[in-house]
């Protein structure tokens, strides 16, 4: 009985966003039962983007490192699968017999999947090492990562021997590892595979942010210099989370490419890097839920608006972006902490106020009792 009550209390003490997570999960679980194949396909892509947003939230929301080039890591993961698929299935444009030595793992399917996780992690490890040991922080970190995504886009276009330049690479879709047509799952099943990866990524992120590492990362965000006076080395923690975040972004890249069935230079470019920032900003930073909700809401809105506007007239097709832009501005102006961030903030403020009233009441009673004794 005691134990049961304890669990109930702990459940009640959970912050409001954990309930939201549950709602999102249930929504995603039942979604395909009520929708067309097209929407199941669209949603698989959105879920891959949600994983991507989670990885940025670890970095930006929790550690305060606003990476404006996170798409580089997403694209690096995607391109590993792309190049591997083109090489194995001998696509028409492939005119090389051998892969360069550092891409050799791509000649096997499993190797490509692992490379898609390892390469982004290595890229972020390397960039992070130079930046954090060089004490680059704040807006300079953002600017360098921004430049990086610009450079990466050009790099991918120029290396057309391996990346097929602007046209991009077609990939066998709806598989996770395999490159054979027979192994393709149907839309419905693949949706749930991607969803399983989202849940896995979410649990990993949740474990990280609730551990002591997560708390130290938050302290880095709040006041990095103060932390050194407690004996910490913030750069080591930043490097760790940047690497983990890169790996998760790479996974998101793989899943996205496997949903779409192709990858092109826009996957590493500034556009996607900015988009993911907007999703996380609108949803709310530093609580994981915000990143997922932001991506979900904005991507569904985008798809809906797109079809509504192209339904009115072909000339209108481009204008949905204006409507969306206006909505985003409105949200940023009215609730700078994002949708979920504001909800959590209100809950915390309310809780603090109630607790304060309780403390004051208790102090007052104690004071009265004391003065009562004096009179007696």
């Amino acid at each position: 009985m005691e134990n049961k009550k304890n669990i109930l209390d702990r459940f009640k003490a959970l912050p409001v966003n954990r309930y939201l997570d549950l709602i999102v999960l249930v929504f995603l679980l039942v979604f395909p039962l009520f929708c067309s194949n097209y929407w199941v396909y669209v949603m698989s892509g959105i879920i891959a983007y949600m994983i991507f947003a989670l990885s940025l939230d670890l970095l930006w929301g929790y550690t305060g490192l606003m990476s404006m080039g996170h798409s580089v890591l997403f694209g690096a993961g995607g391109y590993m699968v792309g190049i591997s698929c083109a090489y194995i299935s001998k696509a028409g444009w492939v005119d090389f017999d051998r892969l360069p030595w550092f891409l050799l793992p791509l000649s096997s399917e499993i190797g490509a999947f692992l490379m898609a996780l390892v390469l982004p992690a290595l890229i972020s490890l390397m960039i992070g090492f130079f930046m954090f040991s060089g004490k680059i922080k704040g807006v300079f970190f953002s600017l360098i990562t921004l430049a990086l995504s610009g450079v990466a886009e050009l790099f991918v276009i120029n290396q057309s021997k391996y990346t097929h330049g602007n046209s991009g690479i077609s990939v066998i879709s709806r598989t996770v590892i395999s490159n054979s047509k027979e192994a393709r799952l149907d839309d419905f099943t693949f949706y749930y595979v991607v969803l399983a990866f989202l849940i896995l990524a979410y649990i990993i992120c949740l474990m990280i942010v609730n551990s002591r590492i997560g708390k130290v990362l938050q302290a880095v965000r709040e006041n990095e210099e103060r932390l050194t006076f407690f004996g910490y080395k913030p750069s080591a923690f930043k490097l760790l989370i940047y690497t983990i975040s890169g790996m998760i972004a790479g996974l998101a890249g793989v899943l996205y490419v496997r949903t779409q069935g192709n990858i092109n230079s826009s996957a590493v470019g500034i556009t996607l890097a900015t988009l993911v920032l907007v999703w996380v900003a609108i949803g709310g930073r530093g609580n994981l839920t915000g990143a997922m909700v932001g991506t979900l809401v904005l991507q569904i809105a985008e798809t809906k608006l797109n079809s509504v506007f192209s339904g009115i007239s072909a000339d209108f097709t481009q204008y949905w972006k204006m409507v969306l832009g206006f909505l985003i501005l409105l949200i940023v102006f009215t609730i700078p902490k994002g949708i979920v961030g504001t909800i959590i903030d209100v809950q915390q403020k309310h809780k603090d106020r109630r607790q304060k009233e309780k403390i004051l009441l208790r102090e007052e009673t104690a004071y009265h009792e004391e003065s009562g004794k004096h009179i007696a």
């Binding site: 590492i213 938050q218 709040e222 050194t228 006076f229 407690f230 080591a236 915390q348 809780k351 603090d352």
Partner: protein, 250 residues
Amino acid sequence: MRNQENILLEVKHLSVEFNGFQALTDVNMKIHDGELHVIIGPNGAGKTTFMDLVTGKSTPTTGIVLFEGVNITGKSTTEITRKYHIGRKFQGPNVFDNMTVKENIEIAMEGYSSMTKCVFFHKSAAFKDKVSEILGLIDLYDYRQFMASDLSHGQRQWLEIGMVVAQNPKLIILDEPTAGMTADETYKTGEMIKRLKGEHTLIVVEHDMDFVRQVAEYVTVLNYGQVLAEGTMEEIQNNDEVIAVYLKED
């Protein structure tokens, strides 16, 4: 009590210059083990600079800092904190704002600052007890689930004192712990600091003379980057030179 044997911190001929401005000139000071040493002096006297030098935030132009006889001049703040156990509270509350009071203390706890310790961290009962004890000491136990940003100014000052205590340092440096506090809060802070005296050596920088009278055992007066006078509270209060430059405003 003040003899030659138990010197914890000693600075010798400490001078520092920033872009032609001489912040400290030939400062010699000895802090004894277990004492509560107050440093006073007008604005710009070099008090904060002195602390920066001791905690490794800046390096002196000349002179050395000895801690337990070991030269720690020019070592990094991380190393000084971890290896030599010097804790510092900054001027104006410098806490982790968007984290709860309890999380703030937990981050500061001694002995868990290396990466491996953080990865394999397990919240033991002893750890929880220690955190509760510190929360009790700074009178914030009821506020443990509050965001640090929702506390009053005085409570934030206490929180930072608590964080420094959680580090369990041999030497605690408090930079203006009562700045911006009401008279009641200042008195309470004084009692808190007196309670710490038995277990830690303390250096306190303060402006509030009532507070200094409440806690001080031994006082050093700095002026224009130089040591003007040193002695017990009574000696300082009767020192003509000190009265002329500092105490006259009282």
